[in-house]
């Protein structure tokens, strides 16, 4: 099995540990990740989708054509990138008029959208193509963490088009998280947005932080050791945003944040160094130490 690996921006340009963990993990699972050479920003759906839908679709379609040339489905680990690429791929496959319009634009770059591939999200590939059984087997260091799962918005929605899971009552990420040995803890308004999307973070940070604070409050009430997400932008919002909330509201939230790939990296024995958690604004040591406790216990009891 091979995928055209779409990087995007925030993962590769801010949190490379997510990329590293994904590459290591996928290799262990026997999935080949092929680089999409010359891919660009998806482009950012909040800004480009809001400013000019034609430009948005054209840049997204260009990225898709790179995967078409490779003859592979796209895999992305970012909800924003997934939203941009999935929406464009879906629209251009359905709407001949729009496809003609976009291909006219793409001819400037010597490209043509054909509609030959699918756009897939990393978490959905893990769940459907790899499967929970195989994932559980690959876990060498089970994690004893209580986790607040954050789905984000563009992973499952709009569900009428994406059709991955029930968008109002999903279980896919909870099951994936629990395959690592961690526990997904229910919390109030779990499916709420982190507040960063739609261009809101750069348009009005106060509103964004108000969203984030509400989520952090609810997660804290549930008593979690970490937040797990499947989107580097949500990841950034919970990591950097958490420090911004603290600064603005005088709070002292310090919930470690992991992308699902980093969580699997930990469970598969990758070092904290490889996960580049030192690049996080919020220290993750509390979560790492809690995971280490189980290892110590294993050494004493021989794993029983």
């Amino acid at each position: 099995m091979a995928f055209a690996y779409f990087l995007g921006c925030i993962m590769n340009n801010r949190y490379p540990g997510i990329e590293k963990a994904s590459r290591v993990m996928m290799e262990k699972l026997g999935i080949e990740l092929q680089d999409m050479e010359g891919a660009s920003c998806c482009p950012a759906p909040g800004v480009f989708g809001s400013f000019d839908r034609t430009s948005h679709a054209a840049i997204a379609a260009r990225n898709i054509t790179i995967a078409e040339d490779m003859g592979a489905d796209v895999m992305t680990e970012c909800n924003g990138c997934f939203g941009s690429l999935f929406e464009t791929n879906h629209m251009l496959k359905e709407d001949e008029e729009m496809k003609a319009k976009i291909n006219d634009v793409l001819s400037e770059a010597g490209r043509e959208f054909k509609g030959e591939i699918n756009v897939r999200h990393f978490a959905e590939i893990l769940y459907n193509d790899v499967g929970l059984d195989k994932l559980s087997e690959a876990v060498t260091k089970p994690l004893n963490l209580n986790v607040a799962v954050h789905y984000g918005c563009h992973f499952l929605k709009p569900s009428a088009e994406i059709e991955i899971d029930n968008a109002l009552k999903p279980t896919i990420l909870d099951e994936l998280v629990e395959a690592t040995g961690a526990k997904s803890v229910p919390y109030r308004d779990k499916l709420m947005c982190c507040g960063a999307g739609g261009g809101l973070r750069s348009r009005d940070i106060d509103v964004t932080l108000d969203y984030t604070k509400e989520k952090l409050d609810n997660m804290t009430d549930a008593g979690v050791d970490a937040i797990v997400n499947v989107c580097p932008f949500c990841h950034l919002q919970f990591d950097v945003g958490q420090t911004e909330v603290n600064k603005k509201h005088g709070t002292d939230y310090s919930i470690p944040v992991f992308h699902l790939a980093q969580l699997y990296g930990l469970a598969m024995g990758l070092s904290a160094d490889d996960l580049t958690v030192d690049a996080h604004q919020i220290c993750v040591d509390s979560a790492l130490e809690k995971c280490a406790e189980i290892e110590e216990m294993d050494q004493i009891t021989g794993g029983e």
Binding site: C9, F51, D52, R62, C153, P158, S202, V207, Y211, D273
Partner: protein
Amino acid sequence: MDALRRLKKILTGEQEPEKEKKSEEAAEQPKSETETIEPEAIEVEEEKPEPEAIEVEEEKPEAETVKEEKPAETEKPEAEVAKEPETEEPEKTEEVEEPKEEPKTKRSDSMTLLEGREAETITRKDIDENFKQEVMDAGAESLALCFQCGTCTGACPSGRRTPYRVRQVVRKSVMGLKEEVISDDSLWMCSTCYECQERCPRGIKIVDIVKIARNYASQAGYMAKAHKMTGSFVIKTGHGVPINAATMELRKRVGLGELPPTTHQFPEALQEVQAIFKKTGFDSLIGYNWETETIE
């Protein structure tokens, strides 16, 4: 809101805190005295769309008068300071007087209470007949199906903390109130979380409507500088969030290439991206200057 309770209160003459506040405002602005009665009465029967629209517009004239008064106040001390060294006194004081008188006459005009009400009524001239069709043609065909149940606003996390009311965006778009939709800053408070769309009983593609409305707003120049900056980064580097020195160091440490295999590594790929932006006109939309590589 308990409509019956409110109705009872109004009938028995019991004042609500909301109403008290309004009558306070009315004391400052005698003009709105009769109007406050009207929206209240309407609100009892048919809760939202109309009274809100009226309320929004009600504020406008107030804001205007405040604006007009301000320059007069701020200019005054300047003129006084200027008095001593210079001898142009009469000219300056005249300038100051004029704007000071204007709001006065306006205020006394509004004492007739009925004047200016025409401006607050939605008429044909506020309606862009094509707007609804334009939004539908741009991909939100489902727009016309809305029956204003308000489920969208109820599901909206931004609606809970900002003036953004997604149901109004849909209604105003159906009515063709283009200018009102696109000039409203709260249009940009949507985080595109799709909660409204997931719950819409008519299956309306609400987020598409919001995005299309934002497209028209952008064409009309209602764009935030920070958003234009993100646009400029993609034109310049291919990435909305370009690489930095710290991340290059991290990438090297974990055995990834210092630069990702994207437009960062392939300049010819960046040229393709730039050719696309030139073709769609995105560069001129955000005012990108190719020479200085910045926003004008």
